[in-house]
């Protein structure tokens, strides 16, 4: 009887599994297959030539990809950390104020609702070396302006600032939900025991928030590793390779250069690396007993 029950459960899952396989796995499998081919067109007909692992071998010699990996790591670490820290600070502040903070919450999440193309326009104007607001402010106080997006030394930082501005509200929302769901009695007990506000934060609030902070960081890190629109709209990967990121490299190789095989190999590699990092992070988190 039990055997029949479990078989029934398995069978009942079959449609969902098939839909998942069709929608999620099939495209990835197709990408994987294409990554071992070179695709060209002759007489209006597609030619797929098997090239083995050549496309994967070529990744090691790709200067754009190398620069893209380096910059993407910087974006992931800096932007995600900034978003989580600022998001947590604002979440704690809003939670402590209570319902009166609602208008501020709406303002804080506003950037999340703005389309990427509009964000590109907003920040391109603000960064403009001739009439951007940053340079106008600098000039007002007697300092000389700077070309934020056109200079190799500041272009990546400028892109990171936009990413933090755009996605910090996401971290804020997740962390606000976590802060609001913290058990009040633990905090009250700490206060009764004479803990200062800082001690309460460090010894009580922060440990209780660790799982939420970890998951927020992980979510945002995965999303930041896919950064594309800010780079596409603001810098096009330049000057030089100073803002090249892996998604933009894939866009150029796959779409602009029409190199579907190599572009697929790059895509598969990125999917693999990000998946491995997620699995390692989740396991590390689990082993520390932090997951909830």
């Amino acid at each position: 009887m039990a055997h029949h029950n479990s078989l029934g459960k398995v069978l009942s899952l079959t449609p969902a599994v098939l839909i998942f396989a069709f929608l999620a796995l099939l495209p990835v499998i197709n990408l994987f297959i294409v990554s071992f081919h070179e695709i060209s067109w002759l007489g209006g007909t597609k030619q797929m030539d098997w090239v083995g692992v050549d496309n994967y071998v070529a990744i090691g010699d790709d200067p754009l990809f190398k620069a893209g990996v380096f910059n993407t790591i910087i974006v992931v670490l800096v932007a995600t950390t900034a978003q989580v820290v600022i998001g947590l600070g604002l979440a704690l502040a809003c939670s402590s104020v209570g319902d009166k903070s609602r208008p501020f919450r709406a303002l804080i999440i506003l950037p999340l609702l703005i389309p990427g193309i509009v964000i590109g326009a907003i920040w391109r104007l603000m960064y403009n070396s001739e009439f951007g607001i940053f340079n106008l402010v600098l000039e007002t106080i007697g300092l000389s302006g700077h070309d934020w997006l056109g200079s190799s030394s500041t272009a990546l930082a400028a892109v990171i600032v936009v990413d933090v501005w755009h996605w910090m509200p996401f971290a804020f929302l997740l962390l606000l939900a976590a802060v609001e769901s913290l058990p009040r009695d633990v905090s009250e007990a700490a206060k009764i025991d004479g803990a200062t506000a800082w001690q309460e934060f460090r010894k009580v609030t922060l440990p209780l928030l660790y799982p939420a902070i970890f998951m927020t960081f992980l979510f945002r890190a995965v999303m930041a590793s896919k950064i594309f629109d800010e780079v596409f709209l603001l810098t096009g990967g330049g000057p030089g390779t100073s803002t090249e990121v892996v998604s933009f490299t894939i866009f150029q190789r796959y779409f602009l250069q029409d190199n579907a095989g190599y572009g697929s190999a790059l895509s598969v590699s990125i999917i693999f690396v990000v998946s491995v990092i997620i699995v390692i992070a989740l396991n590390a988190n689990k082993s520390k007993g932090l997951s909830q």
């Binding site: 067109w41 002759l42 007489g43 209006g44 007909t45 597609k46 200067p63 754009l64 070396s129 700077h146 070309d147 997006l149 056109g150 200079s151 190799s152 272009a155 810098t235 096009g236 990967g237 330049g238 000057p239 030089g240 390779t241 100073s242 150029q252 190789r253 779409f255 602009l256 250069q257 029409d258 190199n259």
Partner: protein
């Protein structure tokens, strides 16, 4: 003037009250043939307004509809690729860039125009742009002698030197003929409020690669030994190449804006029309924005000239012209409609109208017309000189990959990320690899030291 294949209107025009009759019968009844609407995919360029206006004129004259799907450069290319590779193209006419047309030719995506109308041919006054409208599918070569006519030129897109003619006049100078002269003039005109010279150096689909081409050619070098003759031995890392790139970098860093390595065509136009730039290099079609009082603070002050070169080398503007091609995978009626539009477009009268409407004509009929002699159309006089000198960068379908290598290497050199020598050597190695992998007989010069 209107091109009517049937003589109907010619007769009617002799009859009093024809205008009333026109309005009664409707324009379409009087045009050559009523065609299905032509859907055109085109990019957003400085010459778009002129092309859009001439498309409107076509509708006005013939009653036939032409709709434009306007996209950014890369977006237009992607839409064209998707269209020709699908079972049926949504576009009847592809406006293909002179950098990427080999991809369409070699892929076998375009209908030979004589298959649609055996009588069709290019108008005798139309520029042929190095024989690029013709392609021999068997020998994979460009040229009128053996190739099938696949496209009709729609825009010349030859680079010209744009300079402040008013300041030149004040100083008693004539347009620079050498890069040394250009640099000296740019240095002399540089002030706190004006950059001496700015050129595109930002990375894009094809940007700095195109703008640097006249430099390397002007110094006597080349990207490849003889691309027109099919010899793709890589020569970008020659001594001439080094001299040319060093000049390009020096001009950008010493006399240009701080963001030289990030400049786009739009930035250059903005700097020029706001009076902040003394020299730049732009496609001829950008002239239309120079004398528009609503957009420009330098109306009547911009002069045009073919690009400089060093003694003994010809001025060699980069040819980045646009060609109109008809996909194979559309119904016959759509092919005929697209060809009817191209046929009307290439006629001498239309080409003069195209110039009058702010477009960039492709026919000697326009450049040798009285219209070209007017002071406000002085760019056309420069075009008359530059057009026969213009040269294409390559004629093979690997252009997108070649351009990507050069966009990166040249941009990194201007941005100061790598030295001129490292940029040239690394580009040469990467170009050789692309060509070798694609099966070309290639090689490259020894690395520069």
């Amino acid at each position: 003037m209107i091109q009517f294949k049937q003589g109907t209107l010619g007769s009617l025009s002799k009859i009093g009250g024809a205008a009333m009759l026109v309005s009664l019968l409707g324009a379409t009844a009087l045009t050559a043939e009523t065609q299905v609407p032509v859907n055109v995919v085109i990019n957003q360029s400085p010459w778009l307004e002129g092309f859009a206006a001439v498309a409107d004129l076509y509708k006005e004259e013939t009653g036939n509809e032409v709709t434009l799907d306007v996209n950014p450069y890369a977006g237009s290319l992607e839409k064209q690729r998707n269209a020709v590779r699908s079972s049926e193209s949504e576009y009847d006419l592809l406006i293909i860039n002179g950098i990427f047309y080999p991809e369409m030719y070699h892929g076998g995506f375009l209908e030979p125009l004589k298959n649609i109308d055996p009588e069709f041919d290019l108008d005798a006054q139309l520029y042929e742009y190095g024989g690029t409208p013709w392609f021999n599918a068997e020998t994979k070569s460009i040229g009128k002698q053996t190739g099938d006519l696949l496209t009709v030129p729609v825009n010349p897109n030859v680079t010209l030197l744009f300079y402040r003619a008013d300041l030149y006049e004040e100083n008693g100078w004539s347009a620079p003929s050498s890069f040394e002269e250009l640099a000296a003039n740019a240095r002399a005109l540089k002030t706190d409020k004006m950059y001496g010279i700015a050129q595109r150096a930002g990375r894009a689909t094809v940007s700095i690669t195109w703008d640097f081409f006249p430099y390397i050619q002007g110094f006597g070098g080349s990207y490849f030994r003889d691309s027109d003759g099919g010899d793709y031995f890589v020569t970008i890392n020659s001594e001439e190449g080094r001299e040319a790139l060093q000049t390009y970098v020096d001009l950008a860093t010493e006399l240009g804006p701080e963001n030289s390595a990030n400049l786009t065509q739009g930035d250059l136009i903005q700097l020029l029309v706001t009076g902040k730039l003394a020299h730049t290099v732009l496609p001829a079609a950008a002239w239309a924005q120079m004398d528009d009082p609503n957009k420009s603070a330098v109306v009547g002050k911009i002069g045009y000239a073919t690009l400089p070169s060093e003694a003994g080398n010809p001025s060699t503007p980069a040819l980045g012209h646009w060609l109109g091609g008809i996909p194979k995978n559309i119904p016959d009626a759509n092919k005929e409609a697209a060809l009817a539009f191209l046929d009307w477009f290439q006629q001498p009268e239309t080409q003069v109208h195209y110039a009058e409407l702010g477009g960039a004509p492709v026919s000697a009929a326009a450049y040798e017309s009285d219209f070209a002699e007017r002071p406000e159309n002085r760019y056309m006089q420069a075009m008359r000189v530059a057009s026969p000198l213009a040269k294409g960068m390559w004629t093979i379908p690997e252009g997108a990959e070649l351009a990507a290598v050069m966009e990166l290497g040249l941009n990194r050199a201007v941005a100061g990320e790598i030295s001129v020598v490292d940029a040239l050597n690394s580009m040469a190695a990467d170009l050789e690899k692309i060509l070798a992998d694609a099966g070309y007989e290639t090689g490259r010069l020894p690395d520069l030291k």
